[in-house]
Amino acid sequence: MEKTITQRSAWDKVLTKLQKRSLWMLHYCTGCGAVELPPTMTARFDMERFGIMPMVTPRQADILLITGYLSVKTLKRVVLIYEQMQSPKYVVGFGSCTINGGMYWNSYATIKSLDQYIPVEFYLAGCMPRPEAIIEGFTELIDRIGEGKANSWEDYYKNYEFYRKNQEHVFGTIDTRTDIPDDAKYFKIGEVEK
């Protein structure tokens, strides 16, 4: 019993080591901060060194990078896009506004903390975070994936009621056409491995 688990996890470890070298990113830049991404991707900092590439649709993406503030209206789209992404998926909050509302703390139209609505893997604090910070954050993420610790996405399946309640509190009911609790059962996410 003990042995099979170790063999499996050894195999798993190898694949995870390979897997962590490829991350595709969907950037959601309706707020500010998009200006920090071109230098991150191009010759100065070159994100592709780590296998991180921008991708276009949520189906292909692993990372959802949300830059700047999120208004209530755009949060709907973020939730839809997040649910359309394929697990494992990692949300990265970029800039102070995603953490606590930042300079929009008083605004009636923006949300304060992103992790109330979708599980966030990590935040990049600052206004703006520089490309160095982004690279730093992503290397950290890569390491965590390699160690198998980047599991925030499972939380959305496990604690869906919590997120759903917060979402509905902001914008009422929406139909994203994805039944998260049922998906969790179907894909056996969050079940304890025997």
Partner: protein, 621 residues
């Protein structure tokens, strides 16, 4: 005996069905049962007639000539195809035909059409050929009328072309009779060698031109697509599958049996007129132009009707090469084309039966509702595009090879361009009907019933089966080649054993199967997958529901329409045809003005006529 029955059964069927429909406007079930039994009998007789190949039966005397009918290798091939497709059409109609509408004369004309076609392929002299040809043209006209309101005018278009064809053919028969003193195929063939060049050219033109009109060869093709597409869908399938190909039967018979190889060599050696090059060029244009016209159609039936013009070009080119590979390709393509085009049109008919439309811009997403029709159409379009492992590939492969190795690079290119155009337009066909977003109004569409599914299943089996084992049909094609005097193809069950390279469809399809299995294993290695609905879709963060038309099917090949649209939608042939019509109209208008209704003018005409007569008589004296 069976040969005789092949003519008697359709005749009897025609008379009985016509009488029945004259007295009883209802009784659809009786009509269907009778037609089913009748056509089953014809198929059986056609199969049994194989033993009678080579024998001749004599018909009535006409103009001092006894009409001859008989079976040859090629006519048995055609007899089987005609009766088989008729039977499938009837089986399909058991489910598809509803009370009222095109019924009651439907079956009567179907029997009559069969009589005409079987008569043409059984006749062994040009007089019988002409008589049956005429009969066939008329029945086609009546069959074409059995459709929409538009059908009457488009059928008239066919009729005009058919009459022109008949006139030319009639002239050709009289001419040949004068030149050789006989009507019989074999008698003419024996005297052809003695003809001088001019006689030979005239004979060839007079015989082949009507056949090219009937097989809708470019630029005499414009009657076909409108006429066929406005007929009832089952009839469209039947007509474009086999009726048009009778013209190619005529080409084959006249080229190889009546004129023969010596005449063909003579005709192809001339410096100012080269028959082979002329036919091949016509074939090349037929392959390319209608295929691209098909690309711009917005109606499934019309699209297929244009293809049925275009595919004729392959057969024509194949036959005209007069090589072992090419003739086999041409003859086999007649069969393969027949199977997949019927399949495609039956599937379109199945969709039309449920949705009531064949408009490619308004359908979509029906794969969820009619999966069997989808798979049928898929098999059909793979065949039509000529992609392995379906049978269309084998026939096209033969034609390509004969063209490449025969030193016709640009003809081979034309054939390939035709194929690419076919792929483009058939993808548009399947995409706009079955793929993409399902409109809400088709939410309760169901699969069609047993009788409509049965022909689809059978044809799917045939399309795949003769693709994997092309030898089943190619074996008989080789026998036809012997009887036509062409060097037969070296055929194996699995393909062709040609001198420079071979084709083994068994290997190709089994490797295909194996790689499919490997791909399936790769698919299984990946994680679990879940099937989601069509509204769970990437729309850049937009919430999709039934109010959003999130589909792309209108103007599907916009870049092409941008470049070619005008040229193919308003081609010179169409303008020429319109010019001719305008000319006739103007001439008629002038003729109308002669009758003014005034007495004075008529008196003046009479006076003029009298003076003219006097002058002529004086001159004559």
């Amino acid at each position: 005996m069976n040969t005789f029955l092949l003519l008697i059964f359709p005749l009897a069927g025609f008379l009985i069905a016509a009488l029945f429909s004259a007295f009883s406007k209802k009784g659809l079930v009786v009509g269907k049962t009778f037609a089913f039994l009748g056509f089953s009998a014809i198929v059986l007789v056609a199969i049994m007639a194989k033993s009678e190949i080579g024998s001749i039966i004599y018909g009535p005397m006409m103009f001092g000539w006894q009409l001859q009918f008989g079976l040859t290798a090629i006519s048995w091939y055609f007899a089987l195809m005609i009766s088989g497709i008729s039977w499938l059409t009837v089986v399909f109609s058991l489910g598809a035909l509803r009370e009222g509408g095109t019924y009651p004369m439907y079956y009567a004309w179907l029997f009559a059409k069969n009589l005409g076609m079987l008569g043409v392929i059984l006749s062994q002299d040009i007089l019988a050929f002409f008589i049956m040809w005429e009969f066939m043209s008329w029945t086609t006209y009546f069959l074409l009328q059995q459709g929409t309101k538009k059908a009457r005018s488009t059928a008239m278009g066919y009729l005009i072309y058919a009459i022109i064809a008949s006139m030319i053919l009639f002239a050709g028969i009289i001419f040949l009779h004068q030149a050789s003193g006989s009507f019989g195929f074999s008698e003419i063939a024996s005297t052809v060698a003695g003809f001088d060049m001019r006689t030979l050219i005239l004979a060839a033109v007079l015989l082949l031109a009507p056949m090219l009109i009937e097989s809708a060869a470019y630029p005499l093709h414009r009657w076909m697509a409108p006429a066929y597409s406005s007929a009832e869908t089952g009839i469209t399938a039947f007509l474009s599958a086999i009726s048009t190909r009778i013209g190619l039967y005529g080409v084959a018979i006249f080229l190889f049996t009546v004129l023969g190889f010596t005449a063909m060599k003579k005709l192809s050696a001339g410096h100012y007129f080269n028959l082979q090059v002329v036919i091949m060029t016509i074939g090349a244009f037929t392959m390319v132009v209608p295929t691209f016209t098909a690309l711009f159609q917005h109606d499934a039936k019309k699209l297929m009707a244009w293809h049925s013009v275009g595919q004729g070009g392959y057969m024509l080119v194949g036959l005209a090469t007069a090589t072992s590979l090419g003739v086999a390709g041409g003859l086999f393509h007649i069969f393969t084309y027949l199977t997949y085009v019927t399949l495609i049109l039956f599937c379109i008919a199945a969709v039309e039966y449920r949705t009531g439309t064949t408009n490619l811009n308004s359908l979509g997403g029906l794969i969820k509702k009619q999966p069997i029709a989808y798979v049928g159409l898929l098999f059909g379009i793979i065949g039509l595009a000529g992609i392995p492992p379906m049978n269309g590939f084998v026939s096209k492969w033969l034609i390509y090879r004969s063209l490449i190795l025969g030193g016709h690079p640009f003809l081979a290119l034309a054939a390939f361009i035709g194929t690419l155009g076919t792929i483009l337009s058939v993808y548009k066909l399947i995409h706009n009907i079955f793929l993409g977003q399902l409109p809400e109004r088709y939410n309760d569409v169901k699969e069609v019933g047993f009788f409509m599914q049965l022909p689809i299943w059978i044809l799917m089996l045939v399309v795949l089966g003769t693709g994997v084992f092309p030898g089943l049909i190619l074996g008989w094609v080789a026998k036809i080649q012997v009887s036509l005097g062409v060097e037969p193809l070296a055929v194996t069950l699995s393909g062709v054993q040609a001198s420079a390279g071979q084709l083994n469809m068994n290997v190709v399809s089994s490797v295909f199967g194996a790689t499919m299995l490997v791909a399936f294993i790769i698919f299984l290695i990946g994680g679990r997958r879940r099937i989601v609905g069509q509204y769970n879709n990437y729309a850049a963060g937009h919430f999709l529901d039934k109010t959003v038309k999130y589909n792309f099917n209108y103007n599907f090949y916009s870049a092409y329409e941008h470049i070619f649209g005008k040229r193919f939608l308003n081609p010179p042939v169409k303008r020429g045809e319109e010019g001719l019509v305008a000319l006739v109209e103007r001439a008629s208008d002038f003729a109308r003005r002669i009758y003014t209704g005034g007495l004075n003018t008529y008196l003046a005409y009479s006076l003029g006529a009298v003076i003219l007569m006097v002058v002529i008589l004086k001159g004559a004296i």
